[in-house]
Amino acid sequence: MRYKFDKSYKAIVIGGSAGSFQGITRILSSLPNDFDLPIIMCLHRLKHVRNGFVEALSIKSVKPVEEPCDKETIKKRKVYLAPANYHLMVELGNTFALSTDEMVNNSRPSIDVSFATAAYVYKSKLIGILLSGANRDGAMGIKKVKEWGGLTVVQDPKECMMPTMPNAALELSPVDYVLTVEGIIEFLNDLHQQINNA
């Protein structure tokens, strides 16, 4: 195994924007179907189109992708997507909380919001992964994950269609791994094997 994990993790957050759709579908289609940790995705999307996106991701994904309701319990083995026009937050007590408050970095859902609230709840037991994107949303989120002791992964800007987002994260905060999509897939598979062998 290439990647060694020194502790058990509770959740994974993934953020992405322009140019991340292919990468995210590659990752979701390569997941082991019994992948244990909840995956919480915040992807920039059309604000006023409620339907279609989650279905498009589900078709490619090994597991169904769900848009959680407010106060829904976060469960193992599930893949979640921030719904259109809401911020998706992680609440103490292992539930989701939604909000329609002001856009952050011109975005709702905002990756910074999802990452920062998840980091606060899961502390060092969180893995944050930031993919391609054309704005700076997510950079502060990665910083928060790191500050709370979590593990951070940023997609290699050289591979990104839109490198602004990963570059912004790399400028703002130390990051544990800079990986290609294939590298992220291997990383998650190694994590999965380690969880299963534990």
Binding site: H48, D70, M89, L92, A97, S99, T100, D101, M140
Partner: protein, 276 residues
């Protein structure tokens, strides 16, 4: 961006309760914390202490209103979720009018009034404005004043127009407003029969019965304890077989009295009260 602890939030809710009489104790922590961080940032408070001091010592009404205006979320749209408004027009309201001559509607947490104007336009286009009795409430006096005025920034109208087109109204949204000094002013006659009132879903009582209650994206700011309490009030405020509508990503499933409602439309989160 600074971070604040839950103990800080508790201290803030305590002074707010003592000084302003509003109880935010059971608001959802993550979003309440974001609101406080926002207030600290906007007011350039170096720390939570400074904010607490201000709440304790600034006895002007103005600051109280400013605080309430920021602690509550007032981001809203006209015809938000156009498909919901279509279902309301084509199914919910016709169903109510099968058995009644008139219809009573409560906008619980009406914020700056976009939803109230949306409803008024819907009713007008259905030709039943005179059959409707509408009450719109919010805990924030300042925002109620805005709602009554019906003045909105021009930049918001692009989105509102888009929503209205998706809703498939019979006219153009611009038929319902004029633009004055860079502001959009809604046709006041739309809401001449609307009663705007101060009411807090947390501390306020049940004051009337309704056929239809809209409480969309309000209870998301409450924790589950408070959601349960608020839902009881909403339930009590509905006639039997009356309708309750919540936000598209809210759910009643985990509330204590969920079994007193049935789902009429799960996509649009429309529920019907079936038990007292």
């Amino acid at each position: 961006m600074q971070d604040i602890e839950i103990t800080d939030l508790r201290r803030i809710t305590e002074v707010v309760k003592q000084n302003y009489g509003y109880d935010f104790t059971n608001y959802a922590i993550s979003s309440f914390k974001r609101r406080i961080l926002r207030i600290l940032e906007l007011g350039r408070y170096p720390s939570v202490e400074h904010l607490i001091k201000r709440i304790k010592e600034d006895e002007t009404k103005q600051y109280k209103e400013e605080f309430l205006g920021e602690i509550t979320v007032n981001v809203t749209e006209m015809f938000r979720d156009p498909s919901f408004w279509r279902v309301t027009r084509d199914h919910v309201i016709p169903n109510i009018l099968v058995n009644h001559n008139s219809i009573s509607i409560w906008h619980a947490g009406c914020s700056s009034g976009e939803e109230v104007f949306s409803m008024a336009i819907l009713l007008k286009e259905m030709g039943i404005s005179d059959k409707a009795k509408i009450i719109a409430t919010d805990l924030d006096k300042g925002i109620l004043e805005k709602a009554k005025k019906g003045e909105y920034p021009v930049k918001n109208m692009e989105l509102n127009e888009k929503n209205y087109i998706r809703y498939q109204g019979t006219k153009s949204l611009s038929d319902y407003y004029t633009t004055v000094n860079g502001k959009v002013v809604m046709d006041k006659s739309l809401v001449e029969n609307v009663s705007f009132r101060e009411h807090d879903l947390v501390t306020g009582g049940v004051f009337n019965k309704f056929d239809l209650i809209l409480c969309r994206n309000v209870m998301i700011y409450f924790n589950q304890t408070l959601q349960n309490e608020a839902l009881k009030k909403l339930h009590e405020s509905l006639f039997k077989y009356g309708y309750l509508v919540i936000g598209s990503k809210e759910s009643l499933i985990w509330c204590d009295i969920a079994n007193k409602f049935i789902v009429v439309n799960n996509e649009e989160k429309i529920y019907k009260k079936i038990r007292e």
